[in-house]
Symmetry: C2
Subunit: 322 residues, 2 copies
């Protein structure tokens, strides 16, 4: 099925759990607990951890203390502690917190309706607005590091998203690079609401490589429909070496409009690390410590979380037999 | 990674949930509820459903009414309603129930310690004992249809299971076929305790094809460590067209000795069907009805089950947009 690629030797995994996880929960959790989880994740070797979002405290009260949370974390050298913002006000708040490792990210939408729902403006207007972000980041002395293409595999509001639509969005990004004179290091295809399958993963990764040949492709996968790890495998075997994931499977999207209860969140970090290690791919992550972090997350949340490996244990102690 | 195979056009999925699921639960459930679940699964198009096991009512009291359960099910033409037995007494009980579709199965173990734990005898003695089953099935006029190789990817008691050990077990089966003069249609590699990975899946499927070239390879995968669906994808893309699975992810093994709570059970039927359909593979299964069956299973069990698609819903109604 996949004849032209080798497995990457090293895969970089960015942790999304602290933001994705605590943002979706109906109640707030103690700052000290959330700081302890971030510290445990850093100790496990996660090189980049999204700690919190700088969004409206009215809309997302769980993130109201983002500033204080960043300040409370004992930082580990070499780890990046990132935040998310969606507007200028949020960016200015993040900039004001010295402990935030600012990452210049742009956000594009393949689905017009999803962009309207999340941003109040259509996908084209949202793309235009990213030009202003390019200027804003430049003024702030912040390099542009990554762009996310949201709903890159389908949308619950609009339905199928054609490859032509994805290609057009990618062409827009390519054009923006030329016009504004920057080089985009990373482009993430985000399966925001769980439409990806192994075939579409490969096809869309190919599309990125064709239209943005110098970019490193990342995947932001959700396990909404149970095939997140199959999608990750398809990506790995297609040479993708950059993933977002969420410890213990924390998270999900409260605004995604699923029918039966909450949707599953990002693919589970420790399960993905396990897959990589079993395939001989290095991650720089200590799997046992990461499992400990996942169990800490479960104790904090106070109910059984979706991660599998955290409940079964790894194979390390079992390999040589009892 | 996988250069020599095409996706199968049709995949056969055998349902294990009613037995696997209710066997692991600490309490018993009403016969009418279990019958309704089996009927819902048959309505969804599952061609083979393992309804119950004929095992010691002392050891597994949940299965004590297996006979009555089979009798209560309204049978659908074309569906096979199978049972599991582990000794002659169980087989005789199953034979006495007209509603049981008897399948002549043999059980081999790659792990000596696991065989001792489950059967009280080592793997070699267990293999020898299968010769007696060949005779017993022949006397009963029952064709031998399948053999399971348990712990074919690793064992929590013995650790790694080498390919040489798997090869030896397969050679033993090949020899038994020649000696006893039967042809084995199906051989299942069972990842009994969750050790498989995409690489070992491909390697062991190749081993079966080399040693038993006429056999159809099946996989009995568990999602113990979160990569069950990645393993299923690897198998599909390696041409495997026969899987066991469990609706809603019901089940798991109470005797497998995991550290942190119960281990996840078989890979989830409806999530696997979703993967197949998204890849353009037919299954003969009505996914919407199967999701209904999964939700029925969850209502019966009375707590959130592991399946993902049952909670998010399929893409059918969403494809054309709202």
């Amino acid at each position: 099925m996949d004849q032209n690629h080798e497995l990457p030797a090293f895969v970089e995994i960015h942790e999304e759990g602290p933001r994705e996880g605590f943002q979706i929960e109906p109640r707030s959790y103690a700052l000290a607990e959330r700081a302890a989880l971030v510290e445990a994740l850093a100790e496990a070797g996660l090189a980049q951890i999204q700690v919190a979002s700088f969004v409206s405290p009215k809309r997302v009260p769980q993130m109201a203390d983002a500033d204080a949370l960043f300040a409370a974390i004992r930082k580990r050298p070499g780890t990046r502690y990132t935040g998310l913002w969606l507007n200028r006000q949020g960016f200015e708040r993040a900039r004001a917190v010295p402990a935030v490792d600012l990452v210049g990210s742009l956000y594009f939408y393949a689905s017009d309706a999803f962009s309207r729902q999340n941003n109040g403006i259509g996908a084209d207007e949202m793309a235009e607005r990213q030009s202003a972000w390019v200027d804003l980041y430049r003024d702030a002395g912040l390099a542009i590091e990554s762009a996310y293409l949201m709903t890159a595999f389908g949308c619950n509001l609009e339905g199928e998203i054609s490859e032509a639509r994805i290609a057009a969005a990618l062409e827009h990004i390519a054009q923006m690079q030329r016009t504004a004179g920057f080089t985009l290091p990373k482009l993430y295809l985000a399966d925001t609401v769980g439409w990806a399958n192994p075939r579409s993963v490969r096809a869309r990764v190919d599309l990125v490589r064709r239209i943005l040949p110098d970019v490193r492709v990342g995947l932001h996968l959700h396990d909404t429909r149970g095939i997140g790890m199959a999608n990750a495998l398809a990506a790995l075997e297609h040479g993708v070496d950059l993933f977002d994931a969420s410890v213990a499977g924390l998270g999900g999207c409260p605004f995604c409009g699923h029918e039966h209860g909450s949707a599953s969140g990002n693919i589970c970090t420790e399960d993905l690390v396990f897959l990589c290690h079993e395939l001989g791919i290095e991650t720089g992550i200590d799997l046992e410590r990461l499992i400990d972090a996942a169990r800490l997350a479960e104790r904090i949340i106070g109910r059984r979380l979706d991660g599998r490996l955290m409940h079964s244990g790894s194979l390390r102690a079992l390999r040589s037999g009892r």
